[in-house]
C-alpha cells in the first residue's frame, strides 16, 4: 500500500510504467491492459449469443463492471502522470482510451440502454492493442509500413477512382444484358454494381451470377480484368518499398532509426536493423 502511494508521488516513474515498455513493470502493465482488452471483447462477443447469455448472465455482468473499473483507473492514471495531460486527452490514443471506459456508463442512461451501437465503442478498444507493437519492439516495422503506404497513397487513390468508375460502368452493362431475364438476380443497377465489385475483386460470393451467354462473356472479361489489374497496387507498393530499402544504402543512414551507419556494416549498430 505504501509502495503504491510512493509510486503515485513519483510521477516520472509512473509515466515510465504506464506509457513505456522498457522496464519490467512497464511490460507487466502493458500485458495486463492487453488481457483486459481481449477479455472485454470476449464478453462483448459472447453477449450476442442468446444461448450463452442465459446461463452466464451474472458472470458477464460482473466482468463488464470489473473491466470498466480497470479501464477507468487506467485512464485516470494516464491523465495524472502525463506531463501534458491536455495534449494526451486530445491525442488519438487519448480519445480511444476514454471511449474504452464509456460503454457501461452510457448503458445507465435511460432509453440508450438497449441499442446495439455500443458494440462499436467496445470494439474500438481493440485499436488500443496496437500498443502491443511497442511491447515487442515492432514499432519500427509498423512505422516503415506506414511510411510506404503514405508514399504510395496518392497513386493508390487514383487507382481506386479508376476501379470505382470501372465497376459502375461494368455493373450498368451487366444490368442491361441480364435484367431482361425472367427472375433475374440483376434486379436494379445498385445490385449489378455490387455484383461487379464482388467479381472484379475476385471475391465471388455466387449469390448473384449471370445466366445468359452474353452475361457470362461479360463476366469473363470482368474476372480477367480483376485478376490482372490487381497487379497495379501491388506494383505501386513494391516499387515504393524497394525504393525505401535502396535509399538506406545511398545516404549512409539506417532506414529504421535514422542513425549513421558504418560503411561496411551489415547491421545498424544502434537498432540492429539488417542493412
Amino acid at each position: 500500500m505504501k509502495r503504491m502511494m510512493n509510486l503515485l508521488k513519483d510521477r516520472k516513474r509512473l509515466y515510465n510504467i504506464v506509457f513505456e515498455a522498457d522496464t519490467p513493470a512497464g511490460k507487466t502493465f502493458d500485458i495486463a491492459v492487453m488481457i483486459a482488452i481481449v477479455l472485454s471483447l470476449v464478453v462483448a462477443f459472447v453477449e450476442t449469443k442468446p444461448a450463452v447469455v442465459g446461463r452466464f448472465k451474472d458472470v458477464l455482468t460482473v466482468m463488464e463492471y470489473v473491466l470498466t473499473f480497470f479501464f477507468t483507473i487506467e485512464y485516470i492514471l494516464r491523465l495524472y502522470c502525463s506531463p501534458r495531460p491536455k495534449r494526451y486527452a486530445l491525442s488519438f490514443f487519448g480519445i480511444i482510451d476514454l471511449l474504452a471506459t464509456l460503454p457501461l456508463y452510457l448503458s445507465f442512461i435511460p432509453y440508450l440502454h438497449t441499442t446495439r451501437y455500443f458494440f462499436i465503442l467496445r470494439v474500438f478498444r481493440l485499436t488500443r492493442i496496437f500498443r502491443v507493437l511497442k511491447l515487442f519492439s515492432f514499432i519500427n516495422e509498423g512505422y516503415l509500413l506506414l511510411q510506404s503506404i503514405k508514399l504510395s497513397i496518392r497513386k493508390i487513390l487514383v487507382y481506386f477512382l479508376f476501379v470505382v468508375i470501372l465497376v459502375i460502368i461494368l455493373g450498368t452493362l451487366m444490368y442491361i444484358v441480364e435484367s431482361e431475364q425472367p427472375n433475374s438476380q440483376f434486379a436494379d443497377i445498385g445490385t449489378s454494381i455490387y455484383w461487379a465489385i464482388v467479381t472484379l475483386t475476385t471475391v465471388g460470393y455466387g449469390d448473384i451470377t449471370p445466366v445468359t451467354v452474353v452475361g457470362r462473356l461479360l463476366s469473363s472479361v470482368v474476372m480477367i480484368l480483376g485478376y490482372t489489374i490487381i497487379a497495379i497496387p501491388t506494383g505501386i507498393v513494391s516499387a515504393t518499398m524497394i525504393d525505401e530499402t535502396r535509399k538506406k544504402g545511398k545516404n549512409g543512414r539506417c532506414p529504421r532509426c535514422g542513425h549513421k551507419t558504418d560503411l561496411h556494416a551489415n547491421y545498424c549498430k544502434h537498432c540492429g536493423e539488417r542493412l
Copy 2:
C-alpha cells in the same frame, strides 16, 4: 448579368474557368460539373428501382431535364471558348461531353423511347469524372500509372493470350471429365470454359462445381495454377514501376514533371515530387 456578358466576351478567361482548375472560379466550375455528373447517375440508378420510381417520378423527370440543360450549356461553352473547337469536338473528352447531353434528347425520338441502352450513355458521363484528378493535382500520379501500364502492355497482352488459351484447354478437359455425369453442370464446352475462367481467376462463384474425383483433381490443378500465375502480371508491373522510379536518379530529371533536379535534392524543386 453584365459580368456574365463580360466573361463571355473574354474567351481566354472563360477557357481558364472551363478547362483549367488553377483559379478559384475554375475549381468551382469543375466541382459543379462533378456534382451534376454524380446527381445524373443517382437519377439514372434510382429509375431502375420500380418501387422508388412510383413515388418520385416527377422529381426524377425534372432533375433529368435540369441536368441535361446544364450539360448542354457546358458543352456549348467548351466549344465556344476552345481555341480549336473542331479539335476539341473530336477529342476523347469532347465526344464524351457531347454524349453526356444526348440521353434525354434521344428519348424524344419515337420508338427509341423505352430502350434500356440509354443507360450506357448516362454512365459514360462518369468517365468525365477523371477530370477531378486535375482538381486535386493528382494528374501526375494518373500519368505515371498510365505510363507504367503503357510500357507493360505488350508483355501483359502476351500473358493475356496465354491465359485465354489455357482456359480454353482446361475448360475442354473439364467438359470431357465431367459432362458424362447425370445432371452435370458442365453442359457444354462454353459453360466449361466459363467455369475455367471463374476458377483460374480465383473468383469461384460456386454456381458450377465439379463432383467427380478426377474433376476435383483437375480443378485443384486449375486453382493452384491460377494462384501462381497471378504472379506474372504483378511481376511485370512491379518491374516496370521500379524501372521508372530508378530512371529519375540516372538522368537527373524529376520523373513527374521532367525538370532537372539538383544532385542531392530530396524533392523536386519544381513540383515537389519526392526523389
Copy 3:
C-alpha cells in the same frame, strides 16, 4: 495456277510465306491459318450443344471437312518447303501441326467414332495460335516472359511442394474437426484436401463450408495464410524480372536481341527495345 506452280518450285520463297511473317504474303498466310484454327474451335464447341447441332448438322460437317483439308495441305506444304523436313516433323510445332489434321481421319476408324476424347486433339490446335505472336512481333515479349519463368521455376517448384504439403495437412486437420458433424460435407480426407485447396487459393466455391466454431477458426487461419503466402511466387517473379531488367544496363547489351548498345542510347538501335 501457273503462279502457284512457280511458287511450289521456289521452295525458299514458299518457306518465307509459310514459316515467316515478314512479307505481305507470309502475313496473309498466317492470318488465314489463325482464322481456320478459330473456326475449327467454334465448330468443335457448337457440336457439344445438342440444340444447335440438330439444325446445323450439315453445315458443321462440311466445315470440318474443309478445315481438315486446309490443315492437311498446310502440313504437307510445311514439310515440303522446310529445309530439314524430319527435324520440323519432330519439333513441338511439327507434332501439333500433324495432330491438327487428325480428328476427322480418326473418326473414320470404327469404334473410335463416338469418343469425346477427340476434343482434346481439336483444342490442341489452339496452341498453334501462339504463332500469332510472330505476326505482331510480340515474340520478344513472349521470350522475355519465358526467360523470367525459367529462371524462377526452381524456386516456384519448392513453393509448390510447400503448398501441396500444407493443403494435405490442413485438409486432414479439417477432416478431424468437421467430419463428426451429422451430414458433414467433409465426408472423407480427399474432399477435405479439395476444400483446403479451394480455400487456400482464395477461390472459395462455397460448395463445402465449415459449420463448427473450431472449423471456422481453422478456415480463418487457412484463408489468411492463403492471402499472405500468395506474396511468395509474386516476390519470386518480381525479383527475377527486375534482375533481368537491370542486367541489360550492366553488360551493355540489349536484353531483348542481345546486340551491343550505345552508352547513352534510350532505345536499342537494332530492335527498338526501350533500354
Copy 4:
C-alpha cells in the same frame, strides 16, 4: 546377405546412403522412403472412405504393417549410423521420423484404438517429404525462400495484427448493420467476423452474404480493401527478395553457396548459380 552385413559394419558408408543423396545407393534409398511415405498416406486416406474399406480391408491392414515395419527399420538405421545419435533423435527430422513409426503401435493400446487423431501422426509423415529437395538439389532454393521469409517475418506480423484488428472491427460493424434483419445470417459477432475474413481475403464462399443496402455498401468497402491491401505482404516479400538478389553482387559472394565469385563471372564456379 553378406553384402548387407558388410554394409552394416561400414557405418560411414551407411551414413552416406541413409542421410545423403550424392551416391546412386543414397538416391535409391531416398526414393524408396518417398514412395513409402506416399503409400502410407494413400492407405490413410482410403481408410476414411467407408465404401472402399469394406472391400479392401485386408490389403490396407497388411500394407500398414509392412510400411510401419519399413519406417521402424529406417529409424533404427538412422539412429545406428548417425555419428551423434542423441542429437539426431532430438532434431526436428529425428522426432518426425520417430512419429512416423508410431500410429500402428499406438493403435494396439486399448481405448486409444478408434480415435481419429492418429491421422495427424500419419500426415506428419508428409513433412519428411521435404527431404526430396535434397534429392533434386533444390535445397538452396528452399534455403533462399526461407531466408527471405525470415527477413520479412516481422513486417508481415505487424501486417497480420493489422488485418486481425480490421476484420474484428468490420465484422462488428456488419453485425450491427445486418443482424436486425429477420432470419439474418449474421447471427452473432463471431459469425460476422468469420464473414469479414472470408470477404477480406477474397475467398468469398457465399454461405453468408449481406442483403441490406447498407450491408452491401459495407461489404463493397471490405472487398475493395481486401483487394488493395494484399499489395502490402507482396510488396514486403518482393522488396526483401530483390534486396537479397542485389546483395550477391555487392559483396562478391554467391548468394546461394557463399563462395567468392570471379568479377565478371555469370555463374558461380562452385554451385552453378546464375549471378
